[in-house]
């Protein structure tokens, strides 16, 4: 018998996943002090190599990407089985099947997925900054259906391979799948209508928390708190090449970084998904 006790926190990178994880950590902790950004357990990342090796009894560095993918569903099943509590697992992988009728993220152990989506213009600028790459290069990454993290086979990377596909592929894969209940959150709503947006997510997860507890957790996860923590103590999830992980946390900063040609190219490649989630108006003009 399986327990449906995993909530996947899925998103394309730089879409607000960490903010949401900090909020959850604060919500679930009884402490009066804001949770440390460096205490978001490493093992809560679903592409953790350490966890995979421990649960399989094998070295992932001796396995092919396909072999690893074929075992990942069982790793999650086993984690689910061993846990008496609800597990929150961050995922940057898109939703896909690893074998016939076998999804990477098994539905029988999944209580739900919170999918966080953000204006792709802002994701792009943030992603370029985070990876210390020019925006032009990130645009091709963004459009690349074969894009994956940690997919080199001639060196050992710190996490397991994560297939992401293009930005639109990613969004569609999670929001159109029918096997795991999905709750979609827009980053822009997390900023503009914070309490309502987080409250709805808490309702979806079905954990009992009062309005006060939610308000307090939001305060403890405020961008200024996270940014100050990073300034003081650093943040281990930051890439070495970027100056800080918590950069601006705003929406609309893309206007300072993208030119007309870039904007057109992004819209041309992602028009459907952008329109669907309210990032373009009926005249295909950017909303945020």
């Amino acid at each position: 018998m399986y327990k449906k006790n995993i909530i996947w926190l899925a998103s394309y990178p730089k879409s607000g996943n960490t903010w949401f994880r900090v909020f959850l950590t604060n919500l679930l902790s009884d402490s009066n002090i804001p949770a440390s950004i460096n205490d978001l357990a490493e093992t809560s990342i679903s592409s953790s190599r350490k966890l995979f090796d421990e649960y399989t009894g094998l070295s992932s560095s001796d396995l092919t990407f396909e072999e690893i993918d074929s075992m990942r569903p069982d790793v999650y099943r086993m984690q689910s089985q061993e846990s008496e509590e609800l597990l929150f697992k961050k995922a940057h992988d898109k939703y896909y099947t690893v074998a016939k009728d076998q999804a990477l993220f098994p539905s029988e152990i999944s209580k739900g997925v919170i999918y966080i989506i953000r204006n792709p213009f802002d994701v792009l600028v943030s992603f370029a900054y985070h990876s210390a790459k020019p925006v032009e290069k990130m645009i091709s990454t963004f459009n690349n259906s074969n894009y994956a993290f940690c997919d080199k086979n001639d060196k050992l990377q710190n996490q397991l391979r994560q297939i992401m596909g293009s930005w639109s592929d990613h969004v569609n894969s999670w929001t159109q799948q029918k096997n795991i209940p999905v709750h979609i959150i827009r980053y822009e709503d997390m900023i503009q209508d914070t309490f309502k947006t987080f409250s709805k997510a808490v309702e979806f997860i079905e954990i009992k928390k009062s309005k006060l507890q939610i308000t307090e957790a939001i305060k403890k996860s405020d961008f200024s708190v996270l940014s100050n923590q990073e300034k003081e103590l650093g943040f281990k999830e930051k890439m070495i090449k970027s100056n800080s992980f918590f950069r601006k946390g705003k929406s609309g900063d893309w206007q300072n970084h993208l030119n007309e040609k870039m904007i057109k190219e992004i819209i041309a490649n992602h028009i459907k998904v952008m329109s669907k989630f309210g990032y373009l108006d009926s005249d295909n003009i950017p909303v945020y």
């Binding site: 350490k50 421990e54 009894g57 094998l58 050992l156 890439m239």
Partner: protein
């Protein structure tokens, strides 16, 4: 009559029904035998189960899809059941890895996940998470003329010595490039993985030596190198957690042996956390930092 091959590795004389060219030939009465045969479908009285393994008191079973099943019994026998046609290096890879790890734990030895390098007349082990640079440091030191006793699994015996494993490192292509080692004549560990077997014959130290230091490598996202010497419970937990396949310990009911050897070992060694910038790995700088630290 099956031809038997006899080797010595990790301080054990091993008799095998099939050739294991990675290991060094030896003579003598065997401590461990490796045979080809049928393995059990499941173990009885399983204490601990992973996705691909089962462990009970004295028994351990590992299955690697399309390669082989490995049944490790009482610390002195390994049965290999092929799940592919050829008994090749892929079959041996998982034999010399997780299966040997279980064998060592069954025998009450302390296998540490990492490489062992001879520095002066003692050994320093480099351990840490997968990908942190354990084997890379070993390859770097060997390139500098030092000698290694083991790669990936470094075994400590009850005399608190590191016993030599076998003269082979597993090195990723990017590290070979960094060290200007050509890969043309080297064999990939598996066809789709550009990690190579690097024979280290001349730089292999084939005698047991006392363990003096364990360096736990970690990465950080800022520049420069840092170190911290560990003491007390922090030291204990660090080595317990870097025990090779430490989740097998409980399944094999070896907690007591494991606890005892750690307690005996730790007062006699120094343990350091050494953190390096996450990328790129600067082997020479890290090597120099460590040599200075241990001086």
């Amino acid at each position: 009559m099956v031809q038997l091959f006899t080797y010595k590795a990790f301080g054990l004389v091993i008799k095998s029904e099939f050739e294991i060219p990675e290991l060094l030939n030896h003579e003598g009465i065997s401590d461990v035998e490796i045979i080809l045969g049928k393995t059990p479908q499941n173990l009885k009285n399983i204490n601990k189960q992973g996705v691909k393994y089962q462990a009970s008191k004295n028994e351990f079973l590992l299955e690697v899809d399309n390669i082989a099943k490995y049944f490790v019994n009482s610390g002195n026998k390994i049965t290999v059941e092929l799940l592919k046609e050829n008994l090749d290096k892929e079959v041996r890879l998982f034999l010399l890895g997780s299966s040997f790890g279980a064998l060592f734990l069954q025998r009450g030895l302390l296998p540490i996940h990492g490489s062992a390098i001879k520095l002066d007349e003692s050994v320093t082990i480099f351990t840490g998470l997968s990908g942190v640079g354990k084997s890379s440091m070993a390859a770097y030191f060997i390139n500098q003329g030092y000698q290694a006793l083991a790669d990936d699994i470094s075994v400590v015996n009850s005399n608190l010595e590191v016993v030599p494993g076998f003269p082979n490192l597993k090195i990723w292509n990017d590290v070979l490039n960094k060290l200007d080692i050509q890969n043309e004549s080297l064999s990939q560990i598996r066809p789709d993985i550009k990690k190579y077997q690097l024979p280290i014959n001349d730089n292999y130290y084939n005698e047991s030596l006392p363990l003096k230091n364990i360096i736990i490598l970690t990465t950080k996202n800022s520049s420069g190198f840092n170190y911290e010497e560990l003491f007390g419970i922090k030291k204990f937990n660090a080595i317990r957690n870097n025990t090779y396949r430490h989740r097998f310990v409980q399944g094999l009911e070896k907690q007591q042996d494991h606890f005892q050897i750690l307690n005996k070992l730790l007062p006699n060694i120094k343990v350091f956390n050494v953190s390096r910038p996450q990328s790129p790995i600067m082997l020479k700088e890290l090597g120099d930092f460590i040599i200075n630290l241990l001086d």
